[in-house]
Amino acid sequence: MQKYVARRLLLMIPTLLGITIIVFMMTRLTPQDTVDILVGEVGYQDLALKEQLRKEFGLTNSIPKQYVTWLGEILTGDFGSSLYSGRPVTEELKNRVPVSVELGALALAFSISLGIPVGILSAVYQDKWIDYATRGVSVLLLAIPSFWLALIVLVVGSRQFSWAPPSKYFTPWQNLGENIYILLVPAIILGLGLSGTKMRLMRTQMLEVLRQDYIRTARAKGLTELSVLVRHASKNALIPVVTIIGLQVTVLIAGSVILETIFLIPGVGQYVVNAAQRRDYPIIQSLTLIIATVIVVSNLLVDISYAYLDPRVKYS
């Protein structure tokens, strides 16, 4: 097991290096470079100044040298500065990361607590109306775009309940009640979208497990049905669902970009959109890098937890 983890950690290095190369190339291949944008903002075309700035920023060096310099900066935690505010990226993100993590965690918790029991229920009542209903709902949940669902909530909220999402954000330390109140609706919308996949997977896994011999043995021993379902069946059926939870990190990130924008939540997602609108390349560049790293690490955690939960998995 330790060997396996070590091997996987080693394999992560080329992947992460590859990501840095792509992210680096993305900005160097653009038609205008940082200097063009900076000078363009001020509004004049001073070639001498541009040349001097390029030298200062090291843009006259060869591409590989620029890459190594940039990589060195990244590794020491220097992600560059925003072209818009001039503040370091890390500074700008400091207050935003916890907001997005909280939103994501709430959404994930909601989707798990909805998706897994519903999936089990659907499998237990296979081919009964309850099964058909939940299967229909789960397919629908996969197809409804979260931004449309959010729009409908806003429309219905304002027309029927004269409710509008709060426009001022509170951190949990300032006002926990207000904080949850702000995040709850977007978290539920995001979680609903994530729960569809879990419902379906949990259902198929349960059906698979319930056919196994050891379930028959458990029933023959005279265990109550609840005990069979909870202690014997769902434990094994959950293993692939855990994998899905890890793989949904990508969906979660995309979803938080959308919902933070709609519900005016000052998280990372909203910041990405703002940065893209302002063509604040360093910000998007470092965010792409950070988020890609998060995805790689969560994939690693999925694989490790999979190997840990299911001893049949060979560590190869």
């Binding site: 394999l11 080329p14 992947t15 590859g18 990501i19 792509i22 993305m26 653009t30 038609p31 397919v139 629908l140 996969l142 197809a143 409804i144 775009p145 931004f147 449309w148 729009l151 409908i152 806003l154 429309v155 219905v156 304002s158 027309r159 996949t197 379906r200 997977l201 259902r203 198929t204 990508t250 990130i253 995309a254 970009v257 959308i258 924008t261 709609i262 990405v272 959109v273 940065a275 893209a276 609108q277 063509r279 390349y281 998007i284 560049q285 965010l287 792409t288 988020i291 890609a292 790293t293 995805i295 790689v296 994939n299």
Partner: protein, 306 residues
């Protein structure tokens, strides 16, 4: 070809080519009875594709009586009526007409992006799965990198650099989707490769090209189609998400995502948000359930997984 030279041709019994019984119509009827939900999905796709084709040929105006940019300010914010079946928007444009025009963007980007996705995924999947070994190990690390790219953020970046156009959207959405799809294709290629008929073909001295085109490819076509169907739905969703966030194709040509974006300012007129969202959801839903139905028919082992 080497294998044909080895096989004695003369005197060998004529092998009857396998043909599915009945014609195309019978196949369609079979599909409808076996997979009613899939048939509903196929019907929705047919309607949306027809709408896109009609718009492409320029007949939509005759159909609805309005161009997508005909503004009648006096008639703004109308609900559904006989004149405007789905009502009008904030500058009095006919919503039905705009939704039909929007289908063209969604369908074009969906199909073309997935064509790129599947083309690239096929190359990676086949090379990686068929040759295995070091080639596979190296290619899979590249796929790891591709899969780790955060799609929406990467798209926002590309659009902020190159601007939004159909070509940029199609290529970028297509490239971002290829990695995941290649994994599925690779897995299937590895399974098919282990079949004895492939081994036999290798023994007979068949070339790689022959084995790939005659033995591997026909056995993975269904996987390509299943992943393509779900992929088109996904690509359409991504395109409208971008348009909703304000990074889609520039106005005035309507897209469902931008129509939804515009509706945000007019919460008091719910029709503006309902119709384009319904068109979008139905289309994505249709591609998903058709993918499901195809998988149930062609690959029963995978039933309901996803």
């Amino acid at each position: 070809m080497a294998s044909e030279a080895v096989l004695p041709r003369a005197g060998a019994p004529e092998l009857e080519r396998y043909r599915p019984r009945g014609g195309f119509l019978r196949g369609v009827r079979n599909f409808i009875t076996r997979k009613p939900l899939g048939a509903v999905g196929a019907f929705i796709i047919l309607v949306m594709v027809s709408a896109a084709v009609i718009t492409f040929l320029g007949f939509t105006d005759d159909l609805t009586g309005y161009r997508y940019d005909d503004q009648v300010l006096a008639d703004r914010f109308q609900g559904p009526s006989r004149d405007h079946l789905l009502g009008t928007d904030f500058v009095g444009r006919d919503t039905l007409s705009r939704i039909l025009y929007g289908s063209r963007v969604s369908i074009t980007i969906g199909f073309l992006a997935v064509a790129i996705t599947q083309g690239l995924a096929l190359i990676i999947g086949i090379v990686s799965g068929y040759y295995g070994g070091k080639v596979d190990a190296v290619m899979q690390r590249v796929v790891d990198i591709g899969q780790a790219m955060p799609g929406l953020v990467a798209l926002l970046f590309v659009i902020s650099v190159f601007g939004s156009s159909e070509a940029v959207l199609i290529v970028t959405i297509g490239l971002l989707g290829a990695w995941g799809s290649s994994r599925v294709i690779r897995g299937t290629v590895i399974t098919v490769r282990q079949n004895q008929y492939v081994e036999a073909a290798v023994m007979l001295g068949a070339s790689d090209v022959r084995i790939l085109t005659r033995h591997i490819l026909p056995n993975i076509v269904h996987i390509i189609l299943i992943t393509a169907s779900v992929g088109i739905g996904g690509a359409i969703l991504v395109e409208s998400t971008l348009a909703f966030l304000g990074f889609g194709l520039p106005p005035p040509f309507p897209t469902w995502g931008r129509m939804l974006n515009n509706s945000r300012e007019y919460v008091t007129h719910p029709w503006l948000a309902i119709w384009p969202g319904l068109a979008l959801t139905l289309t994505v839903f249709a591609f998903n359930i058709v993918g499901d139905a195809l998988r149930d028919i062609w690959d029963p082992r995978l039933r309901g997984s996803r």
